[in-house]
Every structure is written in structure tokens, then in C-alpha cells.
Symmetry: C2
Subunit: 478 residues, 2 copies
């Protein structure tokens, strides 16, 4: 499956020209925003607004009809009422478009017979005319590197290694927006809605081939061909980490799925068995998916599951030890040599040197001792990786405290490579506006320095544990 030649969908992700049907100068129309996204991101190719009046949009010459455009069109986004869509698909065929992305909803997801029929009609016209379809009822493709933004909401051309496949447009927005804030960078995002033609399986196969995409995340409500999905998933998960959130695993969730994208959700047991057999990593929420994508983006593979913990706060040290063991990690005592050396630089009172290390509390932490502590823990032969936690709130009352926090994360970033073992960081914040501002500043520095940052101790323990489990599974079956 991991074909060397160009994957058939690669043209679709790299169009040279895009038309938006329903583009309008009116900011209350969805078509305006789809078009504006392309303009804002300075899409690398040609863009054409299409609307009933042939109005110009944002300074671009408008056309009444796709067929009037005096140039080839690779990619068409459709944002007009459902009953007018079949005619547009015929135009796409006439223009030999490669792909039509249908934002419009009101098709099979309604459960109404005439609207199911309308969707089938569209799919048939496209199939006969050799035009692929994304949707209907979806947001289409975001490919930051070339400025393809069908989401409007994403204003960044910064590219990364995480690909996201989603049946839900809202989840794509949520994952993308929060992922960007948390330090993820994307190769491509795709929201595919009702999957009248292209399905999660097609996109997963493409991401498996795509060298830009190193980590695959997917939100799935259901698939058309379970057997093919299982095969592609298995092959893909052997090549790259695949993190999946399955929507609709309960009775109420399944009912919500049928109202959302009109697919069959399938039973909980079948999906879980599938994930276990293929090595795909199942998560419970988009938040957890982001945590996993951060781990795979920034951490190399640990040699084992023995964690050394360095942190500040006795209660937090107890909690992180509990979370690590509950998640299936091991928190061994350090070797006697490490403990003896740690004791020399750690004040007796209120601290521990056994693992977790509870660094001196109080106002400021001595930076050289902190650096030495990290080095001692990382060089302990009992330890495969480090979890380091700091609390923001003790260190934002005065400029000196703030500088101390900056210095501590600087030590972490500076020593990351020389420590020789993977590191995950937790920056705890009480989430007041000031505390959160400092969190984002320090998190961004850590991300740029190649260290994933977690919001809570339990999030870090969970993500690190699932990261290790993925590599262990892949090793076991190969």
C-alpha cells in the first residue's frame, strides 16, 4: 500500500487553481469566508469567486458560472443551497475539475428520503464525470504549506507533521485551533462530512503515503467498507502512529452520529478490538488526541517505561507518581549513587530524592542545582525518560520570580539534547488570565525547543504511556 509513485489523491491536496461557488462580498455568507481564507493565506495558485451576480469578491474578478472561467480549475468549493448543487457538479465535470468540496449540508444526514436521494444523485454525476467529492456537509481541506485554507479560521501557513482526518467540521476546527495553541503544527487537515465519495479510509491511505505527514490523527463516526478500513488502518499504523477518536460508541452517541453525518456508527466492542489488533491508539477526546500528537511530535522513542520525575511540590509529586503507575508506567527508586549525589544538592526539608524528586519549594529554585538534578536523574541507568513539572503560579508574583521560571525552562531546553533521554514537561497554571499568559509564553519556548508541554500531571502520564505502548506494539508484531 505504501506506494512509491504519486498517490492518486495527491493532486487533490495540491490544486493549482480553486473556485468558490457561492463566494460573495457579503460577510454573512459562508462562501465569503471560504474565499477570504484563500486570500488571507495567499494561496499559491489562481482563485475564482463564482456567484449568481458575477460579483467581484475581495478584489478578485467574479464569474456567474464555473464554465465562464477562462482557465482550468482543479478544486471547487461549493457553498450554496442543497437543491442547486447537482447543477454545479455538472459544471465541475464540464470544467474537468479534479475535486469538488461540498460545504453545503442538508443531505443524507437529515435522514429524509429525498435528501438521501439528492446526495446519491450528486455522487453519481461526479463519479460518471471522473470528479472526486469531499462531503457534502463538511469543511474540506486545509494545507497550510500551499495556503489552501478552506476553513477560513486558520490563518497560519506554518507547516508541521500532524495530519488530521475528520468526519466533523466542528471537531476539525476545535482540534486545529487548540492544537495550534498547544504547539502542534499540521501537514494537512481534512473534514469530509457525509463521505458520499472519499472516506476516512481514502484519506488514511493518502496520509500513510504522504511524506509531509508523520503522525495521523482521525475523528471517525463510521466507515463505508469496514474490511478495507481495517486493512488500511493496520498497514498505516505499522508505518506511522495513528491516533483515533471514535464518535458514537454509546447508544445516545450513535443516535447523535446518525443525525450528524448519517452513517452507521457500529458497536463499541468491534471498534475497540480493531484498534487493539492494529496498534491504532484510541483516545477519548480531542484534548487527549492533542496530548498524543504532542508526544509523537516532540519525543523520541524511550527505551522503556521507567520514568524519572523531577518537580516542585510534595502533593504534586505524590499525584504524578500515582498517575504514572496507574497509566502503566514504572517509577523506580533511583540507584543509590544517584540518590547520594542528589542528597548533596537538595535541602533535606520538604524534599525527596528517591523518585519523584521534589525540588526545593519556596520562592526561587537555584538554577545550577536544578540543572544538576536533571542531569543526575537523566543519567540514572534505571530511567528511560523524564517527566518534569513546574507550577506557574508561585513564579509570577514578582519580576524576579518570573525570571526564575524563565531560567528553569531555559535549563530544560538547553539541556534537552545532552540529557540523552526523552523529556515531557508539565506547566501547571491556575488559569487566571495572567497565569495563562505566562503558561503560553513558556509553553511556546518549550515547544520551539522540542519539548511537549502538558496542562496536567495526568495528561502527561497518559500521553507518555500510550506513546510507549504504541512502539512496544509495533515492535512485537514485526
Amino acid at each position: 500500500m505504501l506506494i512509491k509513485e504519486r498517490h492518486v489523491l495527491d493532486e487533490i491536496f495540491n490544486p493549482r487553481s480553486i473556485a468558490v461557488v457561492g463566494a460573495s462580498p457579503d460577510p454573512n455568507k459562508a462562501g465569503y469566508h471560504f474565499f477570504k481564507g484563500l486570500v488571507d493565506l495567499k494561496f499559491d495558485g489562481a482563485v475564482y469567486p463564482i456567484n449568481l451576480n458575477g460579483s467581484d469578491v475581495l478584489g478578485f474578478k467574479g464569474y456567474r458560472n464555473l464554465r465562464d472561467v477562462p482557465a482550468p480549475i482543479d478544486y471547487v468549493t461549493v457553498a450554496i443551497p442543497a437543491y442547486r448543487v447537482p447543477k454545479i457538479i455538472e459544471d465541475c465535470v464540464a470544467k474537468s475539475a479534479k475535486i469538488v468540496h461540498i460545504f453545503t449540508s442538508g443531505f443524507s444526514e437529515t435522514g429524509e428520503a429525498d435528501r438521501i436521494e439528492l446526495e446519491a444523485q450528486i455522487a453519481e454525476i461526479a463519479r460518471a464525470g471522473n470528479v472526486r467529492v469531499i462531503g457534502p456537509n463538511c469543511m474540506g481541506i486545509y494545507h497550510p504549506k500551499i495556503g489552501l485554507s478552506n476553513f477560513g479560521v486558520f490563518r497560519s501557513k506554518e507547516s508541521g507533521s500532524v495530519g488530521f482526518i475528520s468526519q466533523s467540521g466542528g471537531n476539525t476546527g476545535d482540534f486545529g485551533r487548540m492544537g495550534l495553541v498547544r504547539g502542534l503544527r499540521f501537514s494537512k487537515l481534512v473534514s469530509y462530512g457525509n463521505a458520499s465519495d472519499l472516506d476516512s479510509t481514502d484519506f488514511m491511505e493518502y496520509f500513510a503515503w504522504d511524506s509531509e505527514t508523520k503522525i495521523i490523527c482521525a475523528y471517525i463516526e463510521g466507515v463505508k467498507d469496514g474490511r478495507r478500513f481495517a486493512k488500511v488502518l493496520k498497514e498505516t499504523a505499522m508505518a506511522k502512529p495513528v491516533v483515533i477518536l471514535k464518535g458514537g460508541l454509546t447508544k445516545a452517541g450513535t443516535r447523535a452520529v446518525s443525525s450528524h453525518t448519517g452513517v452507521l456508527a457500529g458497536s463499541d466492542a468491534i471498534w475497540t478490538a480493531l484498534f487493539n489488533q492494529t496498534g491504532a491508539i484510541q483516545v477519548e477526546s480531542l484534548r487527549e488526541m492533542i496530548d498524543l500528537a504532542l508526544a509523537f511530535s516532540y519525543m523520541s522513542r524511550p527505551n522503556g517505561r521507567r520514568v524519572g520525575i523531577v518537580g516542585i511540590g510534595g502533593g504534586a509529586s505524590v499525584a504524578v507518581a500515582d498517575f504514572c503507575e496507574k497509566a502503566g508506567l514504572i517509577v523506580p527508586r533511583f540507584t543509590e549513587g544517584t540518590m547520594a549525589r542528589l542528597e548533596k544538592i537538595t535541602p533535606v526539608a520538604g524534599t525527596s530524592v528517591k523518585n519523584p524528586v521534589d525540588s526545593p519549594v519556596g520562592h526561587r529554585v537555584a538554577v545550577p542545582e536544578y540543572e544538576e538534578t536533571l542531569r543526575l536523574v537523566a543519567s540514572d541507568p534505571q530511567i528511560d525518560l523524564l517527566i518534569v513539572h513546574l507550577t506557574i503560579d508561585w513564579r509570577i508574583q514578582t519580576p524576579e520570580d518570573r525570571k526564575n521560571l524563565h531560567d528553569l525552562t531555559e535549563v530544560l531546553i538547553k539541556n534537552k539534547k545532552s540529557l540523552g533521554k526523552p523529556v515531557a514537561a508539565v506547566l501547571r497554571s491556575c488559569q487566571s488570565l495572567h497565569s495563562w499568559q505566562v503558561f503560553l509564553e513558556e509553553q511556546n519556548r518549550c515547544s520551539e525547543g522540542g519539548i511537549p508541554v502538558y496542562l496536567t500531571l495526568e495528561d502527561a502520564a497518559n500521553a507518555v504511556s500510550k506513546l510507549i505502548r504504541y512502539y512496544e506494539f509495533r515492535e512485537k508484531v514485526t
Copy 2:
């Protein structure tokens, strides 16, 4: 146990005068901050700084010795090196102080024989002299209503109904700071460290009596007298919700506990059985504890566990339905009448009226229809309570969007009483600084309007489910 007369510890929580031993004009000393906390909060009684030089602190006359203070002292905070503490306890006895709070660490938590002995010596002097002890190795009491702040970090005199008991000072700071941001208000917080005298059991018994405290939260690493703790916990949980985070349930966590407060952590199975038998609500993290305290602070008791869900976003609707059922809640289809009426005001495309209701997406939501939707769902006889979710990020791009978000939460707040059923809200944010600022603004409005606000769909489902389980348990056993 729920004695009518004044509880023996009530004097300790309501001192008329406080001395801080180790108070200093030097902001690098802990004693400075303990004293400054009292000054900042304008403590209702007299305050006295005690230090070796008899220096004044923050304009208050200083004394070299407790015995030199020409007035009675109820409450003494000690923040000086460990080896000097026994002498101070003798002074406390001489002054007939009611309580001494020992911040100083370096006692039994170190595991060293001479320091365990030092702690025993202190406890013995105090016991013989009829002085109660909080600590050592802890932060003491925060009682906002009278301005008793031994934490320094808390600058609010605003009082509420949540009491918190904690072996860990760091956890007390984390719980208090984040709880304040999230909309909790406290009756009293107490950090008691090594529990050389007063233990979690004593404080729980007091909070059971204290009419200011309506919800009890506790972080516990271990207890001295398991039998007495079990008895008090059972009686207390029958009277008021008790939410407990047990630290040290794993091997590594237990080791961390012994380095932290020097107690025995006990086995996981015993604690879990105890919580199940008493109706205490066990949580996994401080974050979850805050979620529960919010539910009990703001929600009345639902008649059952059938949830009506109103939200925005198809993927989010699927997720919240899944989270609710996984948490043991029921998400029934609405009655035919409700669905028929909802259909009249809900656009067909991209929405559902079955439960969850997926309100119209797009830029703005029509406020009258939103209000009518809430009313229809709340009046459905199948429904016992509502979970309502909104996403911040779609509604902060323009002033009109921002106003729409404000209008939607306003509808929620305005109708809260007339809906006649408990409501929990989820305000999803991508957590960029701007999005977070808006979250805090809208959350604070909801809190003031009596509606608990959750960060994620799963947090809301979990908190609501545990709230209901608590009331069901209490009903079953009485």
C-alpha cells in the same frame, strides 16, 4: 456527632489575635509573607510580628519574644528553623495560645530518627500545655470572612460554602487558586501537613458542624486512626457532600507520600471500599475535585439521571452523548411533542432535534429560538437536568459574534430559574489568550447567575453523574 453547641475547634478557626514568629521586613523570608497575608486581608483582630531583632514589620510593632506581647494571643504561626521550634512552643504554652500553626518543615517527613523525635517533642510540649497544633510542615488556615490568611497567596475576603482540608500545602494553593478562577468560593481552607496533633478527621468533624461549610473537599495522604476516620467520614457524608482525593494509592505514590508528610498511605482497595461504603465521592485529581465542588455549589438536586443536551456542533453533540452514557447518565429521546415543536424552530440542515439538540451552527444563533429550545427541552417530562454547551471560538471574531455569545449566556442565566431543572454549562475554548479571556468573562457571568461552567464536555458529564450518584446513595441508606 453533629453537636449543636460550639465545636471545640471553632475558636481555632476564629482567633481574635495572631502572632507570626519569624515575621520579618525581608520579603525573602517566609515569615514576611505569612504576616503580609494578614495585613493585606485586614485581619479582624490584633496581629504581632515576632523576630530575633524585635523589628517592626509593615508598620506593626515587632517583639523579640511571644511573651513580650502585652496582650493575649490566640493563634501563633511559626516560620523559623526546626531546631528553634520547641522553645517557641513553650512560649505558646506560657501565653495560653489556643493554636500553634507550624509552617516549618524538616520533621517526621524526612524519615530521620532525630527529626521524628523533634516532632514528637513538640507535640508533647503542646499537649501538656493545652495548645493545639496544626502541622508541622504546612500552610495553616485560610478563613476569608475574618481575613485570616496564613497563605499569603489568597487576597480575597469573599466567602463561600466550600471547605477544603489538605495534608499538602501545595495542593491547598493549587485548589484554592484554581477554584477561585473557576468560580468557587470558600468557607475555610486548611493545610495540616504532618498532623502531629490535629488530623484530617478532626477537621472533617469540624466542617461537618460548621454551618458556613456546605461542601467538604479533602486531600488526604494517610490518617492516624483509621477507625475514627471511617466513623466521622460516614456521619459527615450523610450530612454534606464530601469529595476526597486520596494521594498515594500506587506503590510509587505511597513512596512519595512517605517523603512528603511521613504518613502511611494504606492500600488502594481499603480506601476505595471505605469511600464506597460511606458515600464519600472519590476523585482522581484536584481538577476533578473543583468540577465536583462547582456542581454541588451551583446545582440543585436533579430528580433523576436523564439529561437533555442543547449545544452547537455535530461532533461535540456526538461526544457529549458518548460522555454522558459512559458516565452512567441517560440521554433519552425527547417525547414526540417536544421533537415536533423543536423541528418548527430548528433549520433542517446540520441539526438534530432528538437529543442532543444540535442548534444551528454558522455565525450567529437566533436568540429567541435558542431560548425557546431551552424551554422546550427543560419542559420535556423525559428530562431531569440540562447540559448546555457553547463554543467560544466561533464567537469572538467580530463584535457582533461576541455580542451573540453574550446574548446566549444571558438567555441561560435569565431563564435558569424558570426552566425548573438543574443546568450545567460547558464553554469550550481553544485556550488562546483571547479565547481564554472571553471564557473567563462568560464563566464569571454564569457563576454569578448560579450556573456551574465546565471546560470540557467530559468534565461536565462526569461531575453531573457523580453529583446524582451522591444523592442516590444518601437516599438509599437513609
